[in-house]
Subunit: 156 residues, 4 copies
Amino acid sequence: MRENVIALMEERGITLPAVAELVYELQKKYYEDLSPEICLTAVEAVISKREVQHGILTGLALDMLAEKQLLPHPLQQIIADDEPLYGIDEVLGMAITNIYGTIGVTSFGYLDKMKIGLVGELDRDKSKVNTFADDLVAAIASAAAAKIAHGGKKNE
Amino acid sequence: MRENVIALMEERGITLPAVAELVYELQKKYYEDLSPEICLTAVEAVISKREVQHGILTGLALDMLAEKQLLPHPLQQIIADDEPLYGIDEVLGMAITNIYGTIGVTSFGYLDKMKIGLVGELDRDKSKVNTFADDLVAAIASAAAAKIAHGGKKNE
Amino acid sequence: MRENVIALMEERGITLPAVAELVYELQKKYYEDLSPEICLTAVEAVISKREVQHGILTGLALDMLAEKQLLPHPLQQIIADDEPLYGIDEVLGMAITNIYGTIGVTSFGYLDKMKIGLVGELDRDKSKVNTFADDLVAAIASAAAAKIAHGGKKNE
Amino acid sequence: MRENVIALMEERGITLPAVAELVYELQKKYYEDLSPEICLTAVEAVISKREVQHGILTGLALDMLAEKQLLPHPLQQIIADDEPLYGIDEVLGMAITNIYGTIGVTSFGYLDKMKIGLVGELDRDKSKVNTFADDLVAAIASAAAAKIAHGGKKNE
């Protein structure tokens, strides 16, 4: 399933190195020797978790179906318009972030609010429906940052 | 939007009185004067919340799209088969239950595990995809039970 | 209980107008006619919810007990030091924010990360243990902002 | 920290084999070759996670402080009486369960509602304050069951 998830992410404009850049932004001030490679490895570990994969597959499917106008009314309009009061994108994001504990919620909210890096690019790209995509990216990056903060396997 | 939600629920075999019956089952031992009407009123209040409506619309849409084989691979198979390790149905359920605080989580898990009333009927009806439907019903009933437990507006 | 909660908050340096200022910061760009009074009313509504009160009472009690060195080892050290990997403060914060749906999680993370206004003051005040206090303030403000965004009772 | 957590659990009447028994009850119908050893190993893995340890330490501390009457009013009464509308015990439980994804929420609610095994013993033991203890046990057992269901490392 991992390969399906990565392929689908790339199809939707989400590459793992771009997600890893967000992790680097989040964690660089805490770790002198943090490298893009460490961040990429953490992102790869996050998307190897089944629960994370399910969240990504579900969210991106909803974006794609909204793009093809295949969702029932009124959900079609709500997702196509990225209606600000629709919170199910955040719900999926939180389910991903929670896998590495709640310390990730702060980063998730921060990335999502400040529209940093790829999160902002997805949010501004009006050629596609990215209602779930930007929250999923923020969630994966936050989970990876939490994984690094928890020190990998040290105390787990 | 409330009317859309109720219509969609009925189309998927979910009537408000059947949900209210679950609420009655959950709460009857705590309240001598509990009536089906009180339970129905609580269910109606729950499905009037926007966040709840968004959860219902999203979950039922995924069930319907799986039924029409319109979901991308491998999500199509996962939802069509109600794959036990797929947890996004519980994620949506919890988002609904949480609106009335976490005391509802106990009832949610109980209804879902014991497949009581309409939850069990939906789970056993193999003519449809009800991967999300049974969890949504358990969540709405648990939220309504929590609302009754919190004493309506008394202390809110 | 509401009066106990407000008194305890004030004792810990958290006044409702200071929380309302955060709400104003969060929401001013979306509402031309937003006033400090509207924000204060929303904060008051949030802290009238029983689940919110329970979260506040529990978090502030833990801060106070840590200050008095009354917590068992090793929790005493973890909370007294505001250990970055301790996530139970965020757990309580999220339980509060979730009452108004998940759209609040973004604001919660943003306030917590950027240490805005009272959140930052509490975080920097080393004369007290404020491990829970800053997250509780961020959570209450985010919940109140979500309440305003949901338009009060309009669609609820 | 792991040793501190196990010692504190035992002090509060929670032994790992008793928690493992709950895991066995939850999962035996799904796995022919499930053994008490497999369940115990899963429980040990769960309590090795830092987020889980923080949840256990915090919840048991609150039980112990309530027993010693050291909590501020009105929280002292709420926790000492295991007030049914107090949901922070479920909040901590969910934070633990979520680490292994949301499929555990069903088991958590079921164990908590049906008061099975050690959960029921703790709930009925009125010589101690076990407001958090029973939910923590239900949460650890549910997380361990979810870990087994996810098949260990197979797809993670």
